[in-house]
Symmetry: C2
Subunit: 366 residues, 2 copies
């Protein structure tokens, strides 16, 4: 079932340049993804031809970040039809298997709503195809699912560029910014949401420094954010998650900018665990707290954050670091993957459609 | 110069039982300390006969925790005279070397004031000896420095027991507590300051659960606090430093209790980095925030926290975990070892002399 394998440099080069992206579609190879668990020690590429392996890649965090896992799932449904064609399945069997794969992908991680939104977009493609004159031709379905996934991918990267420009306008000259986790190119179709704002601020000549929380337990800040910002020669400094308050006491911090995994209609925002602490710390210091996210991350069906499901992950993520046990065997651990920052701690949302305060969200979303 | 060596079980047993202590004096062996860098993976003992090696043990965190490093330094001056006797040094050479050792020990770590207070106590012993009829007999000086160090050690452990009782009185039934770093038996002469309060709460039958922040970068919470509390069969749960706010949102937390490395006259308190964030988070949730510390940790000479020197430690403590690089090579890192929590975030100080609000401190200290 695991159809992943290490591949040679050409695919790696297409992931890394001209702009970094965590995943790409190759008509021959299938879905190609950076193995983000190996960064920054090794740049490894895995190639997927089976949608169930893509679901496992989402669960095990080969690919992570709300927009990126949505795109991986969208490509995953194209892989499903490709697999059925390869297996010579009937139309009925193809559709049955497609729905099975869709259910497994949808359940791969619960918190980020982009996963559900991208799968819904592909189900709309399926319905349109079923109502079309080509409803018997699964090669057309494959082409349309692939085209939609590519379009979602391109729209995400383009949206992040727009988001970046809106965000950069909010930043002062010589801006010192602070971020949490990785809401970068690696978490999206490219360029990044929060790190898109950082990149655009740098492109506008206004970035003095970007501080990165290491983001325990998975260390996405240390391993991913620092890696992608160093590759872009941006002035990044790493700190641990407990240092943000002292940083704001001791040095100038102009703004915090983070991504999100799901945002309710009232502006309550789920994001990587530790974001809520950071928002409280920013509030106490009067530092603006921005959430950068595309429209897909907003869940208009949810009135507030209490309805957002929060994934609890294995305690070994806390107990064991890089294969080394750092605490006593058998120790009880609490390991929520996300937290919810209430809207009143959020200065504004930076989206591809502009900047909105929490109060302005309902109008935009409806 | 490094006179440390691994030794056999009897000394280990004396460190672990009847009550855990991170260090002890043995007239034959010298100063015996647990190597806290190895916990919880290995329980290793190092034996010191040279005070310069003790200073290095303080710097490299073989022994850590404000009270414990003060005691190690006090024993270190006894070792200095013992070494001079062994070397057959003259009275003058003994005193010259003693002052050199005292200066090196004093500079081993800058933030915790207990180190300076314990060395000052030993200098008072030296002065009294110099004014005594035995001022030519360095064997008497050795005996008196040893006796003083033992007395400081016993007083610290006894003070922690008193502190614990005062603290336990503040806690409700079925108390759920949260702590940061290790202010336990391992950080003191025994029993612990913050963890002394936790132990006394348990002994009073009132402890439902103690949550422990892992405390990056050195992971003293995960490695030391969890180890010593598990050994006492106390109900400890580990979490990462970024989870405290979400914990208070999702579960009952009755109080935060932490130790301190130096407390100014107005109540501003330096403690392990991450404490300030935790105090802000507790304040936002209306959770009482207690600092447990002996009189030696209060620096009555300092009007407020702005005068507390904050140690900045090597960036590799953040970049490398258990020998594994977790971030890109050459990455800039900010690594302050401590932060200062302002008095207005502190509900009360729990000391061996009773419980004081920040406003009550000046009267007590003068």
């Amino acid at each position: 079932m695991m159809m992943s394998q290490a591949t040679a440099t050409p695919l790696i080069e297409r992931l890394l340049a001209p702009t970094l992206t965590p995943l790409l579609w190759d008509d021959e190879a299938g879905l190609v993804m950076l193995d983000q668990r190996q960064l920054p020690q090794a740049v490894m590429v895995l190639t997927y031809t089976c949608p169930l392996a893509v679901a496992e890649a989402i669960t095990t965090m080969v690919v992570r970040g709300a927009p990126a896992i949505g795109l991986a799932a969208a490509y995953g449904l194209a892989l499903s039809v490709k697999q059925s064609l390869r297996q010579g399945l009937s139309l009925q069997a193809t559709l049955t298997q497609l729905h099975q794969h869709e259910a497994v992908l949808r359940a791969a991680r619960p918190t980020a709503v982009n996963l559900m939104a991208c799968l819904d977009a592909q189900l709309a493609v399926l319905q349109a195809w079923q109502a079309s004159p080509h409803a018997n031709d699964t090669t057309v379905l494959l082409a349309e699912l692939t085209q939609k996934a590519l379009a979602l991918h391109q729209a995400d990267a383009a949206g992040n560029q727009a988001m970046g420009r809106y965000g950069a306008e909010l930043m002062p000259d010589n801006a010192v910014l602070l971020t949490h986790c990785n809401a970068g190119a690696l978490a999206t179709g490219g360029y990044g949401t929060a790190l898109g704002v950082v990149r655009a601020t740098a492109e506008a000549g206004k970035l003095a420094r970007i501080y990165a929380n290491e983001t325990r337990p998975r260390l996405q800040g240390a391993q991913l954010t620092c890696w992608e910002l160093m590759n872009d020669n941006l002035p990044v400094t790493l700190l641990t998650d407990g240092m943000s308050g002292w940083l704001m006491q001791q040095r100038k911090v102009d703004a915090v900018v983070v991504g999100a995994d799901r945002i309710a209609r009232n502006g309550d925002a789920a994001n990587k665990i530790g974001t809520y602490n950071l928002a409280l710390v920013a509030k106490a210091h009067g530092v603006p707290f921005y959430v950068a996210a595309p429209r897909f991350t907003f869940d208009a069906a949810l009135a507030d954050g209490s309805g957002i499901p929060i994934e609890e992950r294995c305690g070994d993520e806390v107990r064991v670091i890089e294969g080394q046990a750092v605490s006593p065997a058998g120790l009880p651990v609490w390991n929520p993957g996300f937290d919810v920052t209430p809207a009143h701690l959020i200065t504004a949302f930076i989206t591809e459609a502009g900047v909105f305060t929490p109060e302005q969200l309902t109008d935009w979303l409806t």
